[in-house]
Amino acid sequence: MLSSETLSAVVVKMTPVMIVEDDLPTQARLANVLATLAVAACDIHFARNIADAEAQIRAHAFNLALIDIGLPDGNGIHLIAPLRARNLQVTAVVVSAWGTEDLIVAALHAGAVGYLLKEREDVELAASLRSIQSGGAPIDPFVAKHILRLLTQPAVAAPRDAAPVNLTEPLTPRELEILGLVTQGLISREIAEKLARSRLTVECHIKNIYRKMHVTTRTEAVFRARSLGLVQ
């Protein structure tokens, strides 16, 4: 393995976990998926809105949070900052209905390191969570495409702001290569075969890409999201 590519996949602690979701069947569904990953029911905490979630954050230092983006009292993305303030090691995963790529990318800017799409089968959600647990992250072609577009066409992505979109740390050629392959529709297994790397290595690269997209301060995140036209 090349030195530049030396990735130490850190196993993510899954508990305690908070599920922020206003729809009760979906809450149950997510809990069931977590159960397949051997997460004990007593370690799962539920919140149905932002206010609930903030109370839960005050009470517990979560290691994992599954956050619905569209909550009745606001955007779930706003919970990422308090979660991180409480526990810097938290793994924030946003849960999106018919995935709107804008919101997912905004969540990545705000510090999320993964996302789940409600429309997908339980097995797939479980696979994604397994990948997150082992230190990787899932990705879809439309998200990869959006990230690449941000990097190569900042002027188009941010017509109201001439400042180019610079990541705090630029993407490596390998990361760009992986993004390119994802946009062609390849899944991580196929990419791993193509690059002669392990599947986990590929998924760790993806998680690193998400980390690089994260903007540290909340103000900065809002500014970045606004400049990208993601929020008004």
Binding site: W98, E119, R120, E121, V123, E124, A126, A127, D140, P141, F142, V182, T183, Q184, G185, L186, I187, R189, E190
Partner: protein, 598 residues
Amino acid sequence: MLGCLFAGAVGAQTNATITLASAQAVRSDWSANAPPVDGWETVTIPDIWTTHWPTFDGVVWYRLEWDQADGSQPVGLALQYLNMAGEVSVNGTLLHRDLNLVDPLTRAWNTPRFWVLAPPVLRSGKNELLVRVSGLAAYQPGLGPITVGPVASVQAMHEWEVFLRHDSKVFGIAIAATLGSFFLVLWLMRRREVAFGWYGVSMLVWFVYTYNQIATSTWPFTRTEPYQTASTCLVLLFSVLNVIFVIRFCDRRFPRFERALWLLIAASMIGLLLTPHESMALHRGLLTLLACLVIILAAAVLIVFAWRGKQVDQRILSLTSFIYIPAAVHDMLAFTGVLRSNFYFSDISTTITTVAVACVLGWRYSRSLQRIENFNNELRGEVNAARDELAINLRQQHDTEMAHARIGERLSLVRDIHDGLGGTLMGSIAAIENAPQNASAPYLLGLLKELRDDLRLIIDSSAHQAESDSNLGEQLIPIRHRMSRLLDALDIACVWDIDGIDTLKLPPTRALDVLRFLQEALTNVMKHSGATIVNVKVRRDNAALQLEVADNGRGLGVEAGHGAGMKSMQSRALRLGGQLRVDSSPGKTVVAIVRLQV
């Protein structure tokens, strides 16, 4: 006679000027240095000697006397002209002599002269002025008015005379030359302005002709007679050009009249050239009269045409005729000797006319500029109006197109939903109504998932529709990734063999049908086959697209081949214009559409 003269002279002498109105005159030959003793006759000044010596060419001596009470003070002596050349002496002292006193004669006919007389030339009492004049009978030979008196008064008279006979003529000649050239050039640049062309030519002819007023030699001729003949020809030519100008200026043409006039004038000129010396005076007089008449005719014609027509510029110019005609009549009378003057007004009236023509031209020019400006304004207005109208039309057209596009999009979305979701819903409703006992929870769940997957396809493909250059290769990416991920989570390896579709563009509905076929085939593999590997082939070979889904599962049962799943696959293949081929045995099942025309 002399007594009378003296009496008259003395009477007016004290503080005013004296006009010497009477003189003694005597003829001599060209070479005489002193007047002959005999043959003196009394004449009146100004004198044209042909009135008493009709055919005499040669030298005439004029002797004039006046009584100067106080000869100690200087007096002024002014001579308006003598015709043609001569010398002047007072009390035997020579005051002036022209350059050539024999032919070619110096042309002094229009040159006023002035001297200050003082002792010893001037005497108290009787003083004698002797003027020797060389002249030709044909050209009004003689002596002009002579004035004696206080220096200041006489000099003032003289200067006024110089202004009239010389300075004003120079001024008129300069104007004629300048504006003549200007109008000629104008016509050369703009041949439509025929009137100005004629005017330019006539002014240039007039310029050459009036040069006679200030010429002092017969240059470019070596004798007086050809010079005079040329001068008469020029005035004839001018008169015709002037008529033509007037006719053209009034926008008219009289070809026969004009031709006749040209012939008349040409014949007159030839006649003049052939005239013997003896009858020159008569011919020249008649032809100059003719020229004057033609000029008067032209001025009269201008008045008639201008006031019959309605054009303002013609009327303005016609007003100059009221100066022109009297001037021409005066000059005609002066020329024929009816008026005892050799001062001509025509060049002054011509100058006025020239300025008037220039004004008319300026007026015409500014009027056409105004017309152009109005036209431009109108044009600009029309262009703006047309542009606004066009913009409105374009906007309306654009709005209509947008509305159509939206309606089209909505229609195709509705059709997509109808074909997929609708078809599945209708089929399922019918199935459950026929056999409600079969509607188990897993069956219903499968149904809902099928609807969800179809909705996902519709969303993906309508997202791609927005990108105009989307091809089947790009449209395939979301479903490829999604199905691969799902199969992968179920430990089924999905291997894609894609070739030649990156440039393939299908109509949206057709592309959606291709994706539906693949999705349904892969869903079937996932649900029923128990396979571990599935190979998906999407290949384009020229005009044919081949779709193939092959797995290593347990194979289709006999009833599965005729089941509802296969039926729907069959109908999709038919819709795509292809043929469904199912080749199934345990460990190898191939579901394919072959020869799909694209």
